[in-house]
Symmetry: C2
Subunit: 136 residues, 2 copies
C-alpha cells in the first residue's frame, strides 16, 4: 500500500470575517472544496469557539481537511491532507482561499510517508501567494 | 486573540500493527493522549479503511489530533495541533509513540499563525527520534 500523502499547511490572511465566524458557512465551504478536489466525504464536524472563531474537520477517505479561524484577525489556519495520487488538493485550497477572499497565503506542502529504510520521513516546500483583489 | 498554534507533524515507523489496525484502540489512544496533554475533548471520529488502515480525528478546543495508519507498513501519519500556550502537545506525542511501540519518528514542529505585517506565516523545526525497544 502506498503511504505517500500530500499535506498542505496554509496560513490564510485578509479573509472575510463574516465567513470565518460562521460554522455553517465554513462547513459548506470545506465540504464544497472536498467535492471540487474529487475527495469522497465521510463526515464533518464544525463548531464555534469563544468569542467568535470556528473549528472544523471534514473527514475524507484516508485523509482530512481541517480549519481553525480567528475572524477578528481575518486569519484562518487551514490543513488539507490527501493520501495517494488521486484527488486535487491544490484545487481545494484555491477554492477555499477564493471563497474566503484571502489576500495573502503562506503555504507549505509536505510530502508525507516517504519510506527511508526502516523509517518514514517527509519533505517540504514553502511559498507565498498574494491575491490582487478589486476593492468592493 | 492569540493566533499562535503549535502543530506537530509526525511520521511514526515500526509501530504495533495490531493497534494501528483497530479503530477502537486508536480512538482510545488518541483520546487518552489528549487527556495526558490537558486538552479539552469535544468529539472524536474513527473508522477503518480498506483493507486494514484506520483514520481518525479527535477535536479539542481550537485544536485537533488526527491520524492515518497503514498497519502493513507499521506506519502512522500523526498530527497534533494545539492553539495557544496551554496544554502539553509533546506529552501527547510521546504517549502515542510509546503506546504504538514506535521505533523511529520523524517530527516537524510548525509554529503557526505568526503575524508578519498584514500576512501570517509559520516557522518549522525538524528532528528524528529513535527509540530503543527491548525485543519481546
Amino acid at each position: 500500500m502506498n503511504t505517500i500523502g500530500y499535506h498542505y499547511i496554509v496560513e490564510a490572511a485578509g479573509c472575510d470575517p463574516a465567513v470565518l465566524g460562521s460554522p455553517d458557512r465554513m462547513r459548506d465551504l470545506l465540504v464544497q472544496a472536498a467535492k471540487v478536489a474529487d475527495m469522497g466525504i465521510r463526515t464533518s464536524y464544525f463548531y464555534r469557539f469563544s468569542p467568535s472563531g470556528v473549528s472544523g474537520v471534514v473527514i475524507i477517505s484516508e485523509s482530512h481537511l481541517s480549519v481553525h479561524t480567528w475572524p477578528e484577525q481575518r486569519y484562518a489556519a487551514l490543513d488539507v491532507f490527501l493520501c495517494g495520487e488521486e484527488g486535487k488538493p491544490e484545487a481545494a485550497i484555491r477554492f477555499i482561499l477564493n471563497e474566503l477572499a484571502s489576500t495573502d497565503a503562506h503555504v507549505t506542502e509536505i510530502k508525507r510517508g516517504i519510506q527511508d529504510e526502516d523509517a518514514y520521513t517527509h519533505a517540504m516546500v514553502t511559498w507565498d501567494e498574494t491575491f490582487n483583489k478589486s476593492s468592493t
